[in-house]
Structures are given as C-alpha cells and as structure tokens.
C-alpha cells in the first residue's frame, strides 16, 4: 500500500469558526484505490473537513493536495472528483433525468449515455421521469450518489453515503463502492457508524472535537477490540480465587460474572473449563465476549477526553 500514489493529502489542516476550532491540525493521506473511513460523532468536524477537501471552506492553516496538486482557486481537476456532502438535495420540481442533465452540462461531459447508464446502475430507471420531490429518502440518496458517480471520478468524497437507505440499499451501495475501489477509484467516506465503515474501509480514522484521535487499518481494529472470557460457576467468588491463584488476570463484573482478560485463557478456553472442573467448580456458562465497534469507538474518544 505504501508504494501506491497518494491521491489525497492534508497537512496540519486547521479551521476556526469564530472562537470554535472546527478542525485542529489534521494531517492524513489517502492512497490510490484505498477506501478511507472517517469516523466521528455529529459535530466532530467531519463535514468541515470534507468541505475543505472540496474547496468550499478555506482552512486557516495547513494545505490540501489532491492528485499531487495544491487545492487552491486554480485547481482544475474537479472532473476527477465526485462528491456527496451531507443530505443530498436535488431540484425538487425537476425529474431525476433533468437533475442529472444539469450536472452533465456543468461537468462538460460529452457522452449523453452517461446519464442513462448511471440511472440504471443506481436502480433509478423506474423513477427517471419522476420529480425529485416525489422520491423516497432512499431514492434521493441514490440520486445524490448518481450525481457523484456519473462522470466516473478517480476520487470519491462521500459524507454519510448510506443515510436514509434501507438494508437492501445499504448492501447495494456497499458493493458498488467496493467494486469502484477494485476498479482503482479512491474513496474517502465519513460516517458516524463504525460498524458500516469497518465493512467497507481499508483504513479508519477517528476524529473527535476536530482532532484525529486514532488512525488504523481495519484488520488492526479487529485486534484492538477488547476480548474477555466470561465464566459463570456455582460459586463465582471461589472460582475467581482458583483462577487468580494460577495467575490469570480476572475479576468479578457488576453482574457477578468472572471476566478473564489473560490472552492465553481467551485463546484456550477449554483449559479454564478443565481447571474449574478439577476444582469441583464446573462452569455453568463460558463464552468469549468481543467488544462491539460502537463500544470501541466510544472508548477511544473517551480515553482521549481524559
């Protein structure tokens, strides 16, 4: 991955709105073909960063490079970029086709079949002559994605792309984005749902109060999730003593269950089971607990707050 071309790079990006620091010293780089997930609570600074990447907001400090070129008023590679910022809106009294034709014109495209083919790709054929105001929230989101994808951009910047989609739509968009990344497109997407981002992204960046608090590869994320072996016996206090006597790291949780944190116990739960049976404290329940992604996310940002 490191040998690949950097498509998007920010360097110490800082933006103030009055006294409020919306983004603080954000430096990141996204490689060609990568799906880069940008995660944060509402108000964390995700949309401000995305608007800066699109030249809509000027940073107070730092610089942005897209395709190796500095993003300034002379930047002219916008046809290599597709984007969706916050809730997608369309001209309400125009049809799906008319809405797309506007961006076809403004992007200076020369192949009219692009409009029909993106309509088909986003499964909007049935609604192509419907006015945008008559579309469901999910189909409005599809129309927003169609605008972002119509010209086959090399870089996609998507802010909450699955908002409003039903489960089938979420899977479709996920598969579509994966296919685009496989074809070489680079995707930068933000979300406040870690579970969804982890299914898509190669790398994840967590932003909180305008600062990057963690950046890691998705497979590294799996390793960083807290894992514990949870055990229940007829006498949990006695069982805890048995386990700590043989140097397992364990404690009773609020539900009076035994939580074993030792890595060898997590890797070999049958050893724990055998030990407790030998001590006449056979387990009534034994299972592996893995922290879910939302808990990991909250733990990460709370650790940084402390």
């Amino acid at each position: 991955m490191n040998n690949q071309t950097t498509v998007l790079q920010t360097n110490s990006l800082t933006k103030f709105f009055g006294e409020t620091k919306a983004t603080d010293n954000i430096s990141l780089d996204v490689k060609e073909g990568e799906i880069y997930g940008f995660l944060g609570l509402n108000g964390a600074g995700k949309t401000t960063l995305i608007r800066m990447l699109l030249g809509m907001i000027k940073p107070d400090n730092g610089k942005i490079m897209l395709f190796g070129k500095k993003l300034d008023s002379g930047f002219n590679l916008w046809n290599d970029v597709g984007y969706l910022v916050e809730t997608p809106y369309a001209y309400p009294n125009l049809t799906v086709t008319q809405n797309l034709k506007i961006y076809y014109k403004l992007r200076g495209l020369e192949n009219e079949s692009l409009v029909d083919s993106i309509i088909e790709k986003l499964k909007l054929t049935k609604y192509k002559e419907k006015k945008a105001k008559e579309l469901s929230l999910g189909n409005q989101q599809r129309l927003g994605l169609a605008k972002a994808l119509m010209h086959g951009p090399k870089l996609l910047i998507l802010d909450e792309p699955i908002n409003g989609l039903d489960p089938e739509g979420i899977v479709e968009v996920r598969e579509l984005l994966k296919a685009l990344a496989n074809e070489g497109s680079t995707i930068f997407l933000s979300s406040h749902i870690l579970g969804e981002i982890s299914k898509l992204a190669n790398r994840i960046c967590i932003i909180h109060e305008g600062r990057i608090v963690k950046e890691l590869a998705t497979d590294e994320l799996t390793r960083q999730l807290t894992k514990k072996l949870i055990v229940k016996t007829t006498d949990n206090s006695a069982a805890l003593n048995v386990l700590t006597d043989v140097n397992y790291i364990a404690e009773l949780n609020l539900k009076e269950e035994i939580e074993i944190m030792s890595a060898d116990a997590i890797a070999n739960p049958e050893v724990i089971s055998q030990l407790l049976v030998e001590k006449k404290l056979p387990p009534r329940q034994i299972y592996l607990f893995i922290e879910d992604l939302e808990m990991y996310f909250l733990r990460t940002i709370r650790t940084k707050e402390l």
Binding site: M56, W78, Y91, K101, I102, Y103, K105, G108
Partner: protein
C-alpha cells in the same frame, strides 16, 4: 466558452419548467390589462359614469384613451412594478440554490463559480426582457382590440425608446439582489432588500433626492414622478450603472471567496 455555454444550458433546464416563470408573467401582465380597462372606461361614457373608483383613478392619472397615456402607464409599470417583479426573479434565480439545498453541488465543478453566476445573470436579464416584451405584446393586443387611434407613429417609437430604457435601468438596479441572495443563503434577505428599495425609492423620490438614489431613477425616468424626469443628469445615470456593476462584481467576489457552509 464551452463551460459558459454549458452553465447557461443548465440554468435553462432549471428554470424552464418552474412555476415561478409563469407566475411572474401573470403578475407583470396585470398592468397592460388595467391600462386596457382604463381605456375602455374612458372610451365609453356610460361605463365612465358607472366605474366609480376606477374612473377616479384614471382621472387622477390624467389618463387618456391614446397611445401616449397607454405607453406611459406601461413604462411606469416597468419602472415601479419591475423593481418588485424583477426583484422576485433575481431572488428566485440566485436564492433557490440555498433554499433547495443544491448550492453545495455547484461549488466543486469544472465549471467555475464565476461562470455559474454569469449564467444566472444572463438568465435574469433574459427573463426580465421577456417580461418587458410580453407586457408590450399584451399592450399592443389590447390596443388593437380597443382600436386605439394610431396617428403618430414616430411618437410611438419615442415612447418605445423610453419604455426599453426604463426596462434596462430597472434590470440593472436588480443586480445587487444577487449578492443578498447569496449572502443571505436563500430568498428572505433578497426579498427584504427588494421591499426596502421599493419603500426607500418612494420616500427618497418624494424628498427630492430621487435623482441620486439608484432605485428611484427608473421610476423618475419613466415619468412616474412627473417633471422630476428633467432633473436626472449624468450623475444619476452613473450612479445607476455603478450600482449594477458593483452588485455584479460583489456577488462574484463573495461567492468565490466566502466559506460555503450551507
């Protein structure tokens, strides 16, 4: 140039099916119809006796059943009604992107922001000119139906000259509305600005300083202020042109430089 033409075509797609388009034609078309009613009342002595307040109004305006009176009414309607209706047109064209949430989709495109605004200004001018021509057409139609005597053709050309100059002036003073739409991010700020200009144009004209207030100048030129037309001078016309020019450049500069958070 390709992108400028494309931006113009995109604006046409946006506006050709809009309800606002037809709404403005209907609103603006009221003036020639009222002029027609005045002619009808004045031509028919029985109707004049029965018309009450309408007859009074026609008399108060020294309205006569001839081309001079009728064209004068149409010109004044362009000057005064134009500030309002052209103001609505500008508020719609420039403010809709924020009210409909589509502004952000226009900011990171190969077509520059300046070209998108240029296209909007061109559509604004063409839309207003279409309104001006449509009123003239309705006026001619009504005049033909009511058999208004066509005695002085040269005189009519002079009246037409005043009509179109008034229209251009009214269009030009509408340019700053674009800035208010983009700065206010919607319709509210530009419409408030239009309302204020209408009120102030009346008050300032009444105090005698209308010759230097850009939004009073088209009204004075149209003859709505009677003999005050003669007081308009090169300073008046320069102020008017400067207002339009500054409105245009300030709009472009603001959209290019300001942070776009909506």
């Amino acid at each position: 140039m390709k992108y400028q033409i494309r931006a113009f075509q995109a604006e046409i797609i946006k506006n050709r099916n809009s309800n606002m388009l037809w709404g403005t034609f209907i609103a603006f078309g009221i003036a020639p119809v009222i002029g027609g009613v005045f002619i009808l009342i004045i031509q028919d002595t029985d109707a004049l006796a029965k018309a009450g307040s309408l007859a009074l109004k026609a008399n108060a305006m020294n309205f006569e059943a001839n081309w001079k009176s009728y064209m004068g009414l149409l010109t004044q309607a362009v000057a005064v009604g134009g500030v309002l209706v052209f103001g609505f047109v500008a508020s719609w064209i420039f403010g809709r992107e924020y009210s409909e949430g589509t502004a952000k989709d226009l900011l990171s495109l190969p077509t520059s922001r300046t070209k998108i605004l240029n296209a909007k200004f061109v559509v604004y001018v063409l839309w207003c000119l279409a309104l001006v021509l449509s009123n003239l057409l309705i006026g001619f139609l009504i005049a033909a139906i009511l058999r208004l005597p066509l005695t002085d053709v040269r005189g009519i050309f002079l009246l037409l000259n005043d009509y179109f100059i008034t229209a251009f002036m009214t269009i030009i003073v509408g340019f700053p509305i674009a800035l208010f739409a983009i700065w206010g991010k919607g319709y509210l700020a530009p419409l408030a600005f239009v309302a204020l200009t209408l009120v102030f144009s009346q008050i300032i004209a009444a105090t005698g300083y209308g010759t230097y207030f850009p939004w009073s100048i088209p009204g004075l030129f149209s003859g709505a202020g009677g003999e005050y037309k003669k007081l308009l001078n090169n300073y008046s016309y320069s102020i008017l042109i400067l207002t339009g020019t500054m409105g245009y450049f300030a709009t472009i500069a603001y959209w290019r430089k300001a942070d776009q958070t909506k």
